[in-house]
């Protein structure tokens, strides 16, 4: 295995953010029975799959060289999967959030779910941004 370059570290960071974001999404869905996310298994699976693809992209670069096809496809797919997890959760939380900022500000459970959700979404979005930057960079050091 070649030594990681900056892009590789970014991929690993994105994977970690994806895992954390997914875990927080699951937590936000299980904090109360009234705030479960419909389709949670699919949402969680997408997040985890995205993280796996981030790692896969590193591995394939080590095996086939920087900017290899499989690694690149994995990177693009990871962005899509992270976004699926993010978008599916946001779509189901829109009305809860609208309520928190208007007629339902006293919903303490809702605020807890909101804060955890925001944490999850931040992780997933930052993970995507890190992957974009990683896309421009070498994943491994080729002379190693």
């Amino acid at each position: 295995m070649k030594k990681l370059n900056v892009g590789g570290y970014f991929n690993i960071l994105a994977a970690i953010l994806g895992v954390v974001g997914t875990i927080l999404t699951i937590v936000s869905s299980t904090m109360s029975a009234d705030n479960t996310l419909a389709g949670l298994p699919m949402i969680a699976a997408a997040g985890i799959a995205g993280a796996v693809l981030c790692v896969l992209a590193v591995w394939t670069s080590g095996r086939f060289g920087n900017f290899d096809l499989i690694g690149s496809v994995s990177l693009l797919a990871a962005i899509g999967l992270f976004f699926y997890t993010f978008g599916a959760a946001v779509g189901q939380r829109v009305m809860m959030i609208a309520g928190l900022f208007s007629f339902n500000a006293g919903n303490t459970t809702g605020w807890s779910v909101f804060y955890v959700s925001v944490g999850a979404w931040a992780c997933l979005l930052v993970g995507c941004l890190v992957l974009i930057i990683s896309g421009f960079l070498r994943t491994v050091k080729e002379n190693a």
């Binding site: 009234d34 829109v94 500000a105 995507c128």
Partner: protein, 1082 residues
């Protein structure tokens, strides 16, 4: 190397474009799922009906706006609409403002006077409630109304204050660029020095036109020192502007929050330590006003009783005018009164007490929780995160508001029931004394003239019983001669009150209660008018919970034989005094004098009106107890003592905090265990999906009981019916089988339609106001808070307000209105009082009825809320108000009953009534109102004959889907849910995934439950019937289908999707090409 760099570049750019693509896909998906809401906010039209229009397929031929609101080409005339709204709100405030005190000829104050306005609320005006009935958009300020003659809408926009975490913002998103309007103001010259000072102090004391109540309240009134800190020489301006000093004192109201007993901010020295008493800074303002002028006028803004006894008693305070929360243009009406253009004619909507805490209801108000909630109540707080385990014991029984104070006063004078004990005395030194406890009575109001009232002759009694159904019809029409005995022209309410004979130990009865009212025309000095007031005698009957009906049931309305008294008066106290005078009671013990000529006695015998005449409802339905679970003692006997006038001292409510749940049935009910889903019923007789070729457009005007409805309902599939029940708005699902389309139908609120003119949901209407209209940003929620409407005591004006909102609804394309508020005021501290009319059920019920019937004239279904018992906002989600059934029926429910029965508008051919309602978040005792069969079916539908749309409050009790359906509620408020059958389905909607006693919602949930399938048919029937009576039917004909339309936001996200998709594909191709090139180089 170069190739590798390019590969990285193409890959990175591809990743960037994939990100943008995903972002636009996600944003597009979320926007499409909330398209209706976005349309409302942005004024776009993303979908609509598409129809052919020809002789055989007419459109827009059922309801239309009056010609006066149309241009020559048939389009809407926004200027005329706004002008009419200004005029109506002006008249609403002019008739609803209540003159409480007027000495030394302080008022009217003629035009040209030099006036100083004091109090920060004179500059930062209070127009509406925070949430609830918010006043939106451009308005006319108090200063403008008093001194200007043309609107300055461009610089006078209302601002709202959000709740936790939400920054305040303008109530309408963009600045006003439309027309300005001329008006006739009071013509005063205002002290600019003080205006400038308050403008500066507004940086520190930030106020908004729509502001909330607070659990720890601070009115935000600057001190005298702070005024001097801005301009130390401010008093020198008083000499020039000393014709009068007008002080404004305000207490706001709002959704979600209550005032709480003792809930006041530190250091403000509230006079009584309570939020409705005056702070030191407010009292100092009064003193400052006295320095400024010999003429001190106080304007009081509130939706509840403000503790202003000290102002009443202060000889240097010349006038007090309650002006409510007047809406966007209501200050013009206030100006009309101040300058004498209009003589005041309002009556108080609630009793104003010296101390609000003296009300028996206040002994059990606020946040009270069961001692053993944890571990006992397992039901969660729902998607809105409500707090389970809150309750309020309404131990005051029927003695709410003036019913308590006036009845206790009567018993004090009569010397009965220990009424003059010190129990419940706050203002009295020693024994309880009316004058020390009450500042201004219910219904009271002064004018610039005086009136004499006299009941002429015998009232006309019309008593009969339907021979087939036993339904009673019992009315007394009083002819009241009203004479203007003063020197100014004016009009006056004509209020008829009644008193039923009371026997200590018998059924509780108030000493006085409002039975009905009308309003005179404007009478010149010396002129008279005979005003007829028709009283439904049902409302002087009493509900006896223990009455044995002889058929195994208990409880019904009874009319005890004996002497019944009726009286006309300037408020409840005046009417009661008239009755007491007629009864020959000791005048020396009375508070005020009574005029026996204002009273009428009628001995009612069994042969005239039988004791059980009202044991059958107007629909012919036998009345018996339906809400046993409302009474705590039903489950845990003897733990609550209700107030009785037989023993005022011994039963004055104690505070029931930390009650402990021990009864298992009670616990089960609180946990939502109300309905057990059946799974194996034979449902083969229940027809679904039987095509008869009937479409919804054919149902306009078809009576509810016409067999054609059965055919239409059988045509629906079970799944379609479940969609219609599950998703009750604002967007409501369609049903292909009957040609119904998904439509955004409903919106708030009671003071106007909450949709801008340029965001109409019916943009194809011939009268639609085009988006290019310069007045398109006008928001129709401009009218006053509900108590102002109630205080007009003018049924015609109430009707006119409903008519106008019906017209607004035609221009905004909303056919069901979630409003008006119709709960009665249990006490002053309910934050929502601004949305509800009054403490009196007759005043509230008549106001709502007139509004709703007026609105329906233009095809707007008014759905009053919150049915029922929303007696506090604290822990409003599922709080349990505990009460006797007598209290429930004679106070809270009576308001709804009057409105729903709408007997006044019945004809031989048409059973008038309201066609909508919204249920309450609260429970009734142990059971959610949404799930109470007794409330929703037995009382609402069977006794009162309600037919129509009965929606829950937002997301309420979605975990009790089967119980809510079983009760008779017809749908859920599911704001934000759209795209039915596609993006939003029965089993994918997050609202219904957590069911307490069934599987998550799915299309087969009730396959094996015949009862629920029949209930579903009934619910859907009522919903569609309500639609069919509304102007929604304007849009349907045989060719109508659904059409999606391009909007700028849709074009934006689609453009992004396409652009980023293409670029992503291009960069991927470039990446692949450069990879191939590299391989070739190798």
């Amino acid at each position: 190397m170069l190739a590798k760099t390019k590969r990285g570049l193409w890959r990175g750019l591809a990743a960037l474009m994939v990100f943008v693509l995903c972002l636009s896909l996600t944003a597009g998906s979320i926007m499409e799922a909330n398209a209706g809401t976005i349309d409302t906010a942005l004024g776009t039209v993303s979908s609509g009906f598409v129809s052919e229009q020809n002789a055989g397929n007419p459109l827009y031929d059922k309801f239309s706006p009056p010609a006066e609101y149309l241009n020559a080409d048939g389009t809407g005339n926004s200027n005329a609409l706004i002008s009419a709204a200004i005029d109506l709100n002006r008249r609403e405030a002019a008739e609803g403002s209540v003159l409480l005190k007027n000495e030394n000829n302080a008022l009217p104050l003629s035009s040209g006077a030099n006036v100083t306005l004091l109090g920060i609320r004179s500059h930062s005006n209070l127009l509406g409630s925070s949430f609830g009935v918010k006043a939106q958009g451009a308005y006319i300020s108090l200063e403008q109304a008093l001194s200007q003659s043309k609107t300055d809408f461009a610089n006078t926009m209302a601002w709202s204050v959000g709740s936790r975490g939400a920054p305040p913002g303008p109530t309408v998103g963009a600045a006003w660029t439309g027309d300005e309007f001329d008006f006739e103001g009071a013509g005063y010259n205002l002290n600019q020095t003080m205006i400038d000072i308050y403008e500066k102090l507004g940086d520190t004391y930030v106020h908004y036109e729509n502001e909330p109540a607070a659990e720890v309240y601070d009115p935000g009134e600057p001190s005298i020192d702070e005024i001097a800190g801005v301009n130390s020489d401010y008093k020198s301006s008083f000499a020039q502007y000393g014709d009068a000093a007008i002080v404004v004192i305000a207490r706001p109201s709002c959704e979600q929050l209550d005032y709480l007993p003792g809930g006041v901010a530190d250091g403000l020295d509230f006079e009584h330590g309570e939020p409705f008493s005056l702070t030191k800074n407010e009292r100092d303002l009064i003193a400052l006003a006295k320095e400024c002028s010999d003429k001190v006028i106080v304007l009081v803004q509130s939706s509840a009783s403000v503790e202003i006894g000290s102002l009443k008693d202060d000889p240097d305070v010349d006038a007090i005018l309650w002006i409510g929360v007047p809406g966007c243009y209501g200050f013009l009406g206030v100006a009309d009164i101040l300058c004498g253009r209009v003589s005041p004619s309002g009556g108080l909507f609630d009793i104003f007490t010296a101390y609000n805490m003296s009300a028996p209801a206040m002994q059990n108000m606020g946040k009270m929780y069961y001692s053993n909630t944890e571990g006992t109540i397992t039901r969660t707080g729902g998607v809105l995160g409500f707090n389970p385990g809150a309750y309020a014991i309404e131990a005051e029984g029927i003695y709410v508001g003036y019913r308590y104070y006036e009845t206790r006063y009567y018993d004090c004078v009569a010397g009965t029931g220990g009424a003059d004990s010190s129990a419940g005395a706050y203002g009295s030194s020693g024994g309880w004394n009316y004058d020390d406890e009450v500042t201004y009575g219910f219904g009271y109001g002064l004018s610039y003239t005086t009136f004499d009232y006299a009941i002429e002759g015998e009232p006309r009694f019309e008593i009969s019983t339907d021979p087939e159904t036993g339904a009673p019809s019992a009315y007394a029409t009083f002819s009241v001669k009203v004479t203007n005995t003063g020197s100014a022209a004016g009009k006056t309410p004509v209020q008829i009150y009644g008193q039923a004979p009371y026997t200590p130990g018998g059924v509780e009865k108030p000493a006085i209660q409002l039975l009905n009212f009308e309003k005179s025309g404007v009478l010149a000095p010396g002129a008279s008018e005979t005003v007829e007031v028709k009283v439904d005698l049902q409302f002087i009957a009493s509900y006896d919970e223990s009455y044995d009906n002889g058929d195994g049931t208990k409880g019904t309305y009874i009319m005890d034989p004996g002497d019944y008294y009726f009286a006309v008066g300037n408020g409840a106290h005046d009417a009661l005094n008239a009755i007491m005078a007629a009864q020959g009671m000791d005048e020396s013990r009375m508070a005020g004098k009574g005029n026996a000529a204002q009273a009428y006695r009628r001995s009612i015998t069994e042969s005239f009106i039988s004791k059980t005449m009202f044991s059958v409802s107007k629909t012919g339905y036998k009345i018996s107890n339906q809400l046993p679970y409302a009474d705590w003692n039903f489950f845990q006997p003897g733990e609550v003592t209700y107030l009785t006038r037989a023993d005022w001292a011994g039963t004055f409510p104690k505070t029931y905090d930390n009650m402990t749940l021990t009864n298992q049935q009670l616990i089960d009910y609180l946990n939502g265990k109300i309905y057990e889903l059946r799974t194996s019923d034979d449902t083969s007789d229940i027809k679904w999906g039987v095509d008869s070729g009937i479409k919804i457009h054919e149902m306009y005007g078809v009576p509810y009981d016409d067999p054609k409805w059965d055919q239409l309902l059988d045509q629906l599939t079970l799944e379609e019916a479940m969609y219609i029940f599950s998703f009750g708005g604002p967007s409501i699902p369609g049903a292909d089988s009957i040609g119904a389309l998904e439509t955004y139908m409903t919106e708030n609120a009671g003071n106007g339609i909450a949709v801008n003119l340029n965001a109409s949901k019916d943009p194809d209407a011939p009268w639609a106001i085009p988006q290019s209209d310069t007045n398109g940003n006008w928001h129709p929620e401009v009218f006053a808070n509900a108590p102002m409407g109630a205080s007009t005591f003018n049924p015609e004006l109430m009707y006119e307000l409903g008519q106008f909102e019906g017209i607004e609804s035609l221009f905004t394309g909303i056919n069901i209105l979630w409003g008006p508020g119709l709960n009665t005021h249990r006490h002053a501290y309910n934050g929502r009082n601004g949305e509800y009319y009054s403490e009196d059920p007759v005043l509230s019920g008549v106001a709502a009825m007139e509004f709703a019937i007026g609105a329906l004239e233009y095809g707007l279904v008014a759905a009053p809320k919150h049915f029922a018992f929303n007696d506090q906002e604290s822990e409003r989600g599922g709080v349990s108000p505990w009460m006797t059934e007598q209290r429930a029926r004679e106070v809270e429910l009576r308001a709804y009953q009057i409105a729903f029965e709408a007997t006044k508008y019945d004809t031989d051919d048409y059973d008038a009534g309201m066609r909508g309602l919204m249920t309450s978040f609260s429970k009734i005792g142990a059971i959610e109102c949404t799930s109470s069969y007794g409330l929703m079916t037995e009382i609402l539908a069977n006794e009162w004959g309600f037919i129509g749309y009965a929606v829950t409050d937002i997301y309420d009790d979605v975990d009790l889907w089967t119980a809510v359906l079983n009760s008779g509620t017809t749908c859920f408020d599911t704001r934000g849910q759209e795209g039915f059958y596609k993006s939003t389905t029965l089993d994918s909607c997050f609202l219904f995934t957590n069911q307490m006693y069934s599987d998550p919602l799915n299309a087969h949930l009730i396959d094996g439950d015949a009862n629920l399938q029949l209930k579903l048919k009934d619910a859907v029937h009522k919903n569609i019937f309500a639609w069919s009576e509304s102007h929604l039917m304007n849009r349907y004909n045989a060719t109508t289908h659904f059409g999606s339309r391009m909007t700028w936001w849709r074009a934006t996200y689609m453009g992004l999707e396409i652009g980023s998709g293409v670029l992503a594909a291009a960069f991927v191709v470039l990446y692949v090409l450069s990879s191939t090139k590299k391989k070739e180089e190798k």
